[in-house]
């Protein structure tokens, strides 16, 4: 099978720049969220639609980013 509908875009959550990568494999959409700098993956989720996968991943991302402290 091949990844389809591949997309990667920038967004901001809680003041942090992130990148959202989503693609479909068969019937499942896979979303991975990276911090924009340094580019590390820190959240991922699957869904039956692109919106569902991204919403789930963003929910996790928001939770993790809220724990990042600035000094």
């Amino acid at each position: 099978m091949k990844p389809e509908e591949y997309s990667r875009r920038r967004a901001e959550v809680g003041g942090w720049a992130i990148e959202i990568e989503t693609y479909r494999l068969g019937d499942v959409y896979h979303t991975t969220i990276y911090n924009a700098d340094p580019g590390a993956r820190f959240a991922r989720a699957d869904g039956s639609t692109k919106e569902e996968a991204e919403e789930r991943a963003l929910e996790k991302a928001s939770k993790y980013l809220a724990q990042t402290r600035r000094f």
Partner: protein, 279 residues
């Protein structure tokens, strides 16, 4: 101008055409240890950096015997061409490359652009785990000239005998954050090793994950005074991002004396009494 050692890189096209060749073994190594199971380049073996590529008891790189077993069961012998790729623009592919060189494997290459480019190009993915006929592997070394330990870094800071390159993000370098956003904090103090230059690893890559040209890379490092005439020590947080920069400096730009300080900030930033610079 071509890279100093251009054949350490292969394209996604090359992998699509040669992954099944006799004598070639493609290996995926990801930050996200679940990514391989989601789908990988057909024929690729998956290595887990948290269990396969380290000592799981003490903090250290993979022990020689364990690496020999990993390579053997992956169908790799001493003459195999190993092609590594992974997510995050090949962070842990570079980590694996560095360790394979420490243990003397001759023909190791990286798929330029990594998993990101493979996905973006809509290339075939498989969830099948290839059944590799086990082989016997005999490692050499370890060649510790590729690795920097704490005492060497401390000596270099004191004598200014080597250039230190901090490849973390600017916010980690300044101490504004202790770990990349969204990831757990793993150090007690923020900042950087005194005298280090901030050259984030990602500046070596294009948007599609491929490496920038020789000229662009040379300019990037020269602009910060990092040149081949002085030894270089690269570091990050746990040593994987800095292995990416180590790869760039040693193989793409041809620096002779470059080491990866894999203790990195999770060692230095937790040391009692260690000097820390915060701009």
């Amino acid at each position: 101008m071509p890279y100093t050692i251009p054949n350490v890189l292969v394209t996604t096209d090359w992998v699509a055409q040669h992954a099944a060749d006799a004598g070639v073994r493609v290996v995926e190594v990801d930050v996200d240890t679940a990514a391989y199971d989601q789908g990988h380049a057909p024929g690729a073996v998956g290595w887990n950096w948290t269990s396969d590529l380290c000592d799981t008891l003490i903090r250290d790189i993979v022990p020689m015997k364990k690496l020999e077993e990993l390579l053997g069961r992956s169908g790799i012998d001493n003459k195999t061409t190993i092609v590594l790729y992974g997510d995050n623009n090949n962070w842990f592919a570079a980590w694996a490359f560095w360790q394979l060189k420490i243990y003397g494997h001759d023909d190791v290459r990286i798929m330029d652009g990594g998993r990101k480019k493979w996905l973006a190009e809509g290339r075939e993915l498989s969830t099948d785990k290839p059944a590799a006929a086990a082989k016997t592997y005999k490692a050499t070394g370890p060649d510790m000239s590729l690795r920097a330990f704490l005492p060497e870094v401390q000596a270099a800071v004191k004598s200014k005998s080597a250039s230190l390159v901090d490849v973390r993000s600017p916010q980690e370098f300044t101490g504004e954050i202790l770990a990349p956003p969204g990831l757990p904090e793993t150090c007690q103090r923020g900042g950087h090793i005194p005298g280090a230059k901030s050259i984030p690893w990602a500046k070596a890559c294009n948007d599609d994950g491929t490496f920038k040209s020789f000229e662009e890379l040379k300019s990037l490092y020269e602009a910060q005074g990092i040149t081949a005439d002085k030894p270089v020590i690269a570091y990050c947080r746990i040593g994987e991002r800095s292995s990416h920069t180590w790869f760039v400096l040693k193989y793409l730009l041809g620096f002779q004396k470059v080491t990866n300080y894999d203790g990195s900030w999770t060692e230095w930033g937790n040391l009692v009494g260690a000097a820390v610079e915060k701009p």
